[in-house]
């Protein structure tokens, strides 16, 4: 069957986007695109969206529950009327031009009608054909009729065509007889669909290093050698062992676990010379979880280099290693052997040349990432180029653009990367699509509609309580069923139950059904934190025809099970108290009217470096006005200090072009020599005063993006400044760009020292870019003078991703790399006439070596510009390291916690040029959400004055920080009233009113008093 195209005119820009891949990157891109006003066709090759993140138990560095933070997004994508999800689908052809493509998609049959299937699971129960459970890494069985995982979106079962007895042998068919919904369709067929789209975002994720490669480490031969993905499922409560880490061979808890890194990464033998960029982190996470599972177990991690270069990653690793009491060994055991008497033998050589061997109970292989399966087919279908490793080819200056205009790439297909970087790229690609398709914004989308709200005013209070296990996150500590039982005994509670995951799509459906069935008019969910999950449940309330204010959460995870992990009894008591208090408050909740506020359709961008200019351009391209303020006289920022990228091109040229574009853009107003003097307002309606070279300027804007950047660390160590022979990498860059004689004639020996200032010197963090910069500059020096001796003294060479190519190239070019220990740093000895000698310990020779350096290059770290003043004005938090703190490290990596404010570039964390550009595009995309929406609906938690009680004293008016309450005259008496559009719900007025005439929406006096009273009642 081939559905014909509705033939859009070639000139017509189509307001739809095809997103290929339903992992976290693809789902985020889809959600961002619909927010920006575009219809999305999301195609996924498996039976459900969620990708690899859905299979993870926890996420590094916070050990947050992976599915818990992902599920709300999956549910949101599933219920978004502007996202059409096509599962079991792949892109087979893409014709046409940017703005007006035709995507040809082949959709395999599910054999179960998605629209009708209720997700009851009867088909699986009766299915006779067992297959491996791919979601659980084939560590257990599933059936031919199945669903990938309980929280899957779409919440519909499907039949594995290769296995089904009916489809292959015309027998069985039991599922069709037991399906109450009559959803089984054995006559379902493959469909080829042509979809008109304006742009395409590729997010197919990654493939895995083949079993062949891992067979070298005993995988397949020894049962107790497992991949990290298998180990992840063993850790997970919904995994094959219910969250027990056991050996496959004897189902016993391993007492000695080894994690082997770089399996199929940094390995020329298997063709993967690149670094997979995520394994160092996930191994630390898995080791931490293994420790939680067994406090006695011995845990060893084998590293080549420890590459924890992300924001806060080093600190998280150090804490994990310290608290988990892990043994970290710098070595790469070449193989795993079986020995007599059981156990797995590892043999390794340490850097001092000594050989060691030991037996382990369980060996976990940190399996690297590869280009996705079928990358070449996808590239052919989409018409894009691949790099030699079969990842999508992109450029440093357009990191999200493929070789074909209008086709973007995000996530691991662009290069191995972690979840935050994938989510960031998703936001960036959405912004680029929105810019490219700006004329067609809103042409293909419809508005989400909810049933009419039920008027509950006359009803008796009927509260439903749902207590969440959150896998084992809560259930592993708190006795969840007993909390649910307890809830049933509380006043007004007419229904209470417990769920494995309250945030999954099937539970949302259950919530709606339960609300109808028991005619609930208040809902209490005892689970995680309202800060992240309240919006999800409130939307569910609206779907059930209830006002969203009739909802209350009891935080029994973040503030209970997670912080009292070793006190299950006390945690259970606390959870009961929390539920009792939430129920008491819920009884006093009332429906509150919503208000819509207009949004000023423009943005302020603070900082005119690479990040700020990129953000400004990306916002302006989407059709919104931008004010760009830069502190210096000129735009450009610190990126102008770089004189070559790793491919030998001059970034200054690219920056000059960007500056020209920014200056010429009709929608961008630039203020140089400008700083932010004051900020007031809130999302949609900010007013900012700028101090500029031309005096004070007041700007009204709906959103703000912060890109205040960073600067190089100024070294005081290693005798910097005492000899012209001691320079920083940036100073070397400048020398290398000189046209004549970049190096003194007699320069024979160069020494580079890494981590100057970083990783615990003055700066506690890793500056991320210095290793790559040292490699790049070493290669530049070698190109200039191949006979030059270069020694790089390093702690861990953090050449992540494709930078590993440079690391190998540098070694091949003869650059010597010598690791130094933090407790035994290199020593610089200044000599006469500016001579410099460097003394360091050589672990190979096991002795101290001294070399005369004709040039000593210090790889200095990155320091953020002081954010304090701006952070205070915006009321956003900063980290101890003085970087702006994002709203959520995994899933909101560029949002600041205050709505309508965003961060990118070095103000967020150290990062390279391409990463900065992608992040700035992401910030620009996210910033345009409120602008594209045109209005905001703030939480209806505003104050309300009772005119009967009000005496018109005006105290509230004088204390309101937002001028949101005013005195008016009525029949000769003065009364206060709230200007709801301006009220932010702080409640100062209520706390100060002399006659208790003011109350707050949702945080009412009665509600809080009820909580206090309930607190006092205690658990009997």
């Amino acid at each position: 069957m081939h559905t014909p195209v509705s033939n859009p005119s070639a000139l017509q820009t189509v307001g739809s986007v095809l997103v290929v891949g339903g992992g976290v990157a693809g789902v985020q891109a889809a959600l961002d695109l619909t927010e920006l006003g575009y219809k999305v066709h999301l195609i996924e090759k498996s039976g459900a969206i969620g990708g690899v993140m859905a299979r993870l138990d926890k996420t590094f560095p916070t050990n947050d529950c992976s599915l818990c933070i992902l599920a709300p997004k999956l549910v949101e994508a599933g219920r978004d009327p502007n996202i059409e999800i096509l599962t079991l689908s792949e892109l087979v052809d893409l014709t046409g031009e940017p703005g007006s493509f035709t995507a040809t998609v082949r959709k395999q049959p599910r054999y179960i009608d998605e629209e009708i299937c209720t997700g009851c699971g009867q088909c699986t129960l009766y299915c006779l054909k067992q297959i491996g459970n791919d979601f659980n890494e084939n560590l257990e069985h599933s059936q031919a009729a199945h669903i990938d995982y309980a929280q899957a979106v779409p919440t519909s079962y499907y039949i594995d065509a290769k296995a089904c007895l009916r489809l292959n042998h015309d027998t069985c068919g039991l599922c069709a007889s037991v399906c109450q919904a009559k959803a089984i369709r054995f006559d379902d067929t493959e469909k080829v669909i042509d979809i008109p789209v304006g742009a395409v975002v590729l997010a197919p994720g990654f493939g895995r290093v083949s079993d062949e490669v891992m067979a070298r480490y005993g995988l397949g031969q020894f049962e107790d050698v497992v991949t990290a993905f298998e180990h992840e499922r063993l850790m997970c409560a919904s995994g094959p062992t219910g969250g027990e880490i056991v050996r496959i061979s004897d189902r016993k808890h391993p007492k000695k676990i080894a994690f082997l890194q770089c399996i199929g990464s940094r390995d020329e033998n298997c063709g993967n010379n690149y670094c997979s960029s995520v394994c160092c982190m996930y191994a630390i996470k898995q080791a931490t979880l293994a420790r939680e599972h067994d406090p006695e177990c011995e845990i060893t991690l084998f590293y080549m280099d420890v590459r924890t270069h992300g924001k806060g990653f080093d600190a998280a690793r150090e804490r994990a290693v310290r608290e988990g009491n892990f043994r970290v060994i710098y070595a790469r055991p070449p193989k795993v052997e079986d020995v007599f008497g059981g156990g797995l033998l590892l043999t390794w050589a340490t850097e001092d040349g000594k050989h060691h061997s030991e037996k382990f109970d369980l060996v976990v292989l940190s399996q690297g990432l590869e280009a996705p399966d079928g990358a070449e087919d996808l590239a052919r279908s989409a018409g894009i180029d691949l790099n030699p490793y079969l990842f999508a080819q992109t450029s440093i200056y357009t990191p999200l653009a493929t070789s074909r205009p209008g086709v973007y790439v995000i996530g691991a297909f662009q290069g191995p990367k972690d979840i935050p970087d994938s989510v960031t790229q998703a936001g960036g690609a959405a912004a680029l699509c929105a810019g490219q398709l700006a004329p067609a914004r809103g042409t293909n989308t419809i508005k989400a509609s909810f049933p009419e709200e039920r008027d509950i005013a006359g009803e008796e209070v009927r509260i439903g309580v749902f207590v969440c296990h959150c896998g084992i996150n809560i259930g592993g500590v708190v006795k969840v069923p007993s909390v649910a039982e307890y809830a049933k005994t509380l006043p007004h509670v007419v229904y209470a139950t417990d769920n494995l995951y309250s945030c999954s799509q099937d539970t949302q459906r259950l919530l709606v059904e339960t609300i109808h069935k028991h005619r609930l008019n208040r809902l209490v969910v005892a689970a995680c934190t309202p800060r992240t999950h309240e919006p999800l449940f409130q939307t569910t309330l609206r779907e059930a025809g209830l006002n969203r204010s009739l909802f209350e959460m009891a935080n029994i995870r973040d503030q209970c099970s997670w912080v009292h992990m070793h006190e299950p009894e006390a945690a259970t008591e606390k959870a009961k108290d929390a539920v009792r208090m939430a129920v008491a408050k819920a009884a006093h909740l009332t429906a509150l009217a919503e208000q819509q506020l207009p949004v000023t359709p423009s943005a302020l961008v603070v900082g005119g470096g690479l990040a700020g200019m990129t953000a400004a351009m990306t916002i302006a391209e989407q059709g919104f006005e931008v004010t760009l303020v830069e502190r210096e006289k000129e735009l450009g920022g610190r990126v102008k200090l770089l004189t070559a990228d790793r491919f030998g091109r001059d970034p200054r040229k690219a920056v000059a072009e960007l500056i020209a574009k920014v200056k010429a853009h009709p929608k961008i107003t630039v203020h140089t020599k400008g700083t932010v003097a004051a900020v007031s307002g809130y999302v949609g309606n900010f007013t900012t005063t700028l101090d500029t070279g031309n005096g004070s300027v007041v700007v009204n804007h709906g959103v703000a993006a912060i890109a205040t950047g960073g600067r190089p660390y100024e070294p005081k160590q290693y005798h910097y400044g005492e000899s012209p022979k001691i320079v920083t990498q940036l100073e070397l860059e400048k020398k290398l760009a000189a046209t004549s004689q970049p190096l003194a004639k007699n320069t024979k020996q160069v020494v580079m020292i890494q981590c100057v200032g970083s990783r615990g010197e003055d700066l506690s963090y890793c500056s991320r870019v210095c290793c790559g910069q040292a490699l790049k500059n070493s290669l530049r020096l070698k190109k200039l003078r191949p006979e030059l001796g270069i020694t790089v003294l390093y702690r861990d060479m953090r050449a992540y991703g494709f930078l590993e190519d440079d690391y190998r190239a540098a070694r091949e070019a003869g650059v010597i790399f010598t690791r130094y220990q933090v407790e035994q740093k290199p020593e610089v000895i200044p000599g006469k006439g500016g001579a410099v000698a460097v003394r360091y310990h050589d672990p190979l020779l096991a002795e101290t070596v001294e070399v005369d350096a004709d040039l000593l290059v210090l790889s200095v770290g990155i320091v953020p510009e002081d954010p304090t003043a701006l952070a205070r004005m915006l009321k956003v938090p900063v980290t101890a390291e003085k970087f702006f703190l994002e709203a959520h490290v995994k899933l909101q990596p560029v949002d600041l916690p205050v709505d309508g404010t965003y961060v990118c570039g070095l103000a967020h964390s150290p990062r390279s040029m391409d990463e900065t550009i992608a992040q700035a595009q992401a910030a620009a995309g996210r910033a345009c959400h409120p602008l594209a929406r045109g209005s905001i609906t703030p939480a209806p938690i505003v104050s309300k004055v009772d005119p009967e009680l009000c005496i018109g004293c005006g105290a509230c008016e004088s204390f309101c920080p937002y001028k949101a309450i005013e005195i008016y005259k009525e029949a000769k008496s003065r009364k206060a009233r709230t200007l709801t559009a301006s009220c932010k719900g702080c409640g100062i007025c209520a706390a100060r009113c002399p006659t208790m005439a003011i109350d707050m929406g949702r945080f009412t006096l009665d509600g809080i008093m009820a909580q206090i009273k309930a607190f006092g009642q205690g658990v009997s």
Binding site: M565, K574, G985, I988, M1000
Partner: protein, 203 residues
């Protein structure tokens, strides 16, 4: 009944800083004593002076109020107004003869999970040392709770609240947001009314 005494602590946390810090302590798996029960508010500025008194009257042995650091309030100056309310609570506790350390107002930013843990751990220890309400005071706990209920009632009364309005006004005008300055203002503006009112239910 040889159970070890486990104090009951009620906390009022602001949504933007302290509540977030408490969440991030969880995400980081920092452990602290399980005695705290939390009421979330958007801002500590919402803290009616009667709330902590009601908390004690209803069975708490200690009350914690957690907000944003000075100068970092999400609503500009709500935490300063909270200090005004807190000063009144301390005044009233002194008048009744209750250890002022049973009531603590402290700050932890959204990024300070470990700091929140430190504060709560120390406070729990403190309250454990003081024992159930009345023990450190050498008084009958039940009687104290009755007095606290009466104090809460008068904290909702016009007389005291007018004093607080005046204190808040002077604080905003003077621009000195230090704890001692605010406590001084509240004492000046409320002491007379307090002495009168509290006299009625003093032991």
């Amino acid at each position: 009944m040889s159970q070890i005494y486990s104090p009951k602590i009620l906390g009022f946390l602001c949504n933007w800083c302290c509540y977030t810090a408490a969440d991030s302590a969880g995400v980081g798996r920092y452990q602290y004593p399980p005695n705290l029960r939390v009421i979330r508010m958007m801002c500590t500025g919402r803290l009616d002076p009667s709330f902590p008194l009601e908390g004690l009257a209803n069975g708490a042995d200690g009350i914690f109020v957690g907000g944003c650091h000075p100068g970092e309030c999400h609503y500009i100056d709500g935490n300063y107004h909270a200090l005004v309310s807190a000063s009144l609570v301390h005044e009233m506790l002194s008048k009744i003869g209750i250890e002022r350390e049973r009531f603590l107002i402290e700050w932890a930013s959204a990024a300070e999970g470990p700091n929140f843990v430190k504060i709560i751990t120390a406070f729990t220890k403190k309250i454990s040392a003081l024992g159930p309400l009345g023990q450190a005071e050498g008084k009958d706990g039940e009687e104290l709770r009755l007095q606290l209920a009466a104090a809460a009632e008068s904290a909702r009364g016009r007389k005291i609240r007018t004093g607080l309005i005046n204190a808040s006004k002077e604080m905003m005008k003077g621009g000195d947001f230090s704890r001692t300055a605010i406590a001084g203002l509240v004492h000046d503006k409320c002491d007379k009314a307090l002495t009168e009112l509290m006299g009625e239910f003093a032991p």
